[in-house]
Symmetry: C2
Subunit: 329 residues, 2 copies
DNA sequence: CTGAAAGCGCTAACAG
DNA sequence: CTGTTAGCGCTTTCAG
């Protein structure tokens, strides 16, 4: 039924070892032999069985991807970047949604190990200490993209949320904002923490104490942005830093529906730079995170680990750029 | 180093067959033996090697997913639906982006076969005849979700674009629209064709001949919607059917920037129902396609094929619902 | 440059 | 209920 390496060997009158060599591009084969084998391979339409190969070689050319939610545009852009690099290096990706649930994360992780993946990328979301520990103790290389474990022990690629947040805060202060608020989502605790600390620090240096009342933490979705506005409205904020574009758009619309003018009455800056930023009026001022690149660089880093290449720095910090559009003065 | 079934067998003083039985939940094991084996499994932290299992059993509990672009919100919602069902049935998914390129599609398909996946889901995009043929001749089950091959020979799940389009056309005509236009994207040729035919038919039945000038085919992205408006503007359309939400939002903004009032001067209906529909003002009137379900049902169908369950109908047509929001009268 | 042979870790008859 | 025995299809020494 299915044609195996043995069939090819017999037909080409060589041993399976030789067939294996030509399939794997081993140079130690006489060109004439190589041609003969290749001819048979094509004629028989032989397709190597990757599972058998994986068992024999202990390499599966497969990497696992743990992602909070592939239908979230933020993560799907990371995923695309990572996938492209994986393809470039001839790896396939097994992608699983964790919903940022530590239990699911561990389940996925174990499944991935059982499938003998050559490496794992952990995307976004909060990295719980238990999960981080499980990762530490496993022997397959793991890279974290778009988030970080609490003690930064894992290889990771990120932007510097703290600096970005601080920079934005200074700018908004300069433009007259005084009453700051923060809107975060459920996924990346690390990012949330860094943005908050950057803002708090920026305010403090300018003699303003930031009050925890002005923090809303929700689910990173559009409707959640509307909810956030409803909750924060009483404080009459004139500047909001928001962790997700989708939430930010919800904020914009809720504020407009409440009769506020953006950016005159309220300035909003978000932290994602997905394609959504240009899909509102006014257009969203946003920190341009190189999402595609964060995914891509993460995968590239992983390939280095998988091939035992030398690694200069396990912690990659990618540059960000703040794009001030219509929702800021 | 790694603990194998053999280690467990030795430690539990049984044969590897017995260990295999308890791991696979085979009832023919004395409870006492089962407990002993389980104890050893836990103590040794034994994790079955799925690759070896796959080789021996010829089942990998892995399905392949061919998707045009995971960073496109339309497809990522399909992907999420499919993934959830896959997880429910204990399958992992290998996801690869095809960019709707027939060459890449075939390459991915062959890689997937070589990985011995138990089934393949082909998502969205145009299904070229060559690819369809390749699929036909392979022995693994394949299901197509959100599109269809030209002669509808493959198992597929879809909505009835033709009817939806016709229904919208009638409604818009009733509300006074006379100058129709169509904006499509590069991905699903089948959907584009059906929407166009539904509209043409609806118009024809009302004595209006649809002119091909009023068709724009682009890339399904936001900026492309703006481009489409620029191109169609000269025809002064008062109704546009648009295949993608993202393009539709581009249309809305371009029209507004040109001083048009929506929906008074121009009505727009899109065909996706992604989360984007509510992220514009006015909100987008759109055909509610059950994207998540299209993916989910596709995967469910695939599991039936993989388990040789009985299949009533290889062609599933899911209900749609038209949601008239702010961009229509 | 090529072949023989020993596994990789597990499942699946087949006996008992 | 349990053990024995063949493989699954390929890679990888080791000889020659």
């Amino acid at each position: 039924m299915t044609v195996t390496i043995y069939d090819v060997a017999r037909e080409a009158k060589v041993s399976m070892a030789t067939v294996s060599r030509v399939v794997n591009g081993n140079p130690n084969v006489k060109p004439a032999t190589r041609d003969r084998v290749n001819e048979v391979i094509k004629r028989l339409n032989y397709r190597p069985n990757a599972v058998a190969r994986g068992l024999a070689s202990k390499k599966t050319t497969t990497v696992g991807v743990i992602i909070p939610d592939i239908s979230n545009i933020y993560y799907s852009e990371l995923a695309r970047g990572l996938e492209d690099i994986a393809t470039m290096y001839k790896y396939q990706t097994i992608i699983s949604n964790s919903d940022n649930d530590p239990f699911k994360e561990r389940e996925i992780f174990n499944n991935l190990l059982s499938k003998q993946v050559d490496g794992i990328i952990f995307l976004g979301g909060t990295l719980s200490n238990e999960t981080a520990e499980l990762i530490q103790t496993s022997s397959v290389p793991v890279v974290v993209s778009g988030t970080q474990d609490n003690d930064s022990a894992l290889p990771a690629v990120n932007i510097d949320y703290h600096s970005a947040s601080r920079e934005i805060t200074e700018k908004l202060l300069k433009d007259g904002a005084r009453q700051f608020a923060f809107v975060g989502g459920g996924y990346s605790e690390k990012a949330r923490h860094d943005v908050l600390s950057g803002m708090t620090e920026g305010l403090k240096d300018n003699g303003i104490t930031f009050n925890d009342d002005a923090v809303y933490v929700g689910s990173e979705q559009y409707l959640d942005g509307e909810k956030a506005f409803a909750q924060l409205q009483g404080l009459k904020p004139d500047a909001i830093l928001c962790i997700s574009d989708e939430q930010a758009i919800g904020l914009v619309h809720a504020a407009q529906d409440a009769g506020l003018n953006i950016p005159d009455d309220l300035q909003i800056v978000s932290f994602n730079n997905t394609r959504l930023v240009q899909m509102v009026r006014p257009k969203l001022s946003s920190v341009m995170q190189p999402l595609y690149d964060i995914g891509a660089v993460g995968m590239r880093l992983l390939t280095k680990f998988m091939n035992d290449e030398e690694i200069e720095d396990k912690q990659v910090v990618l540059p960000y750029h703040i794009d001030y559009r219509g929702t800021t003065k």
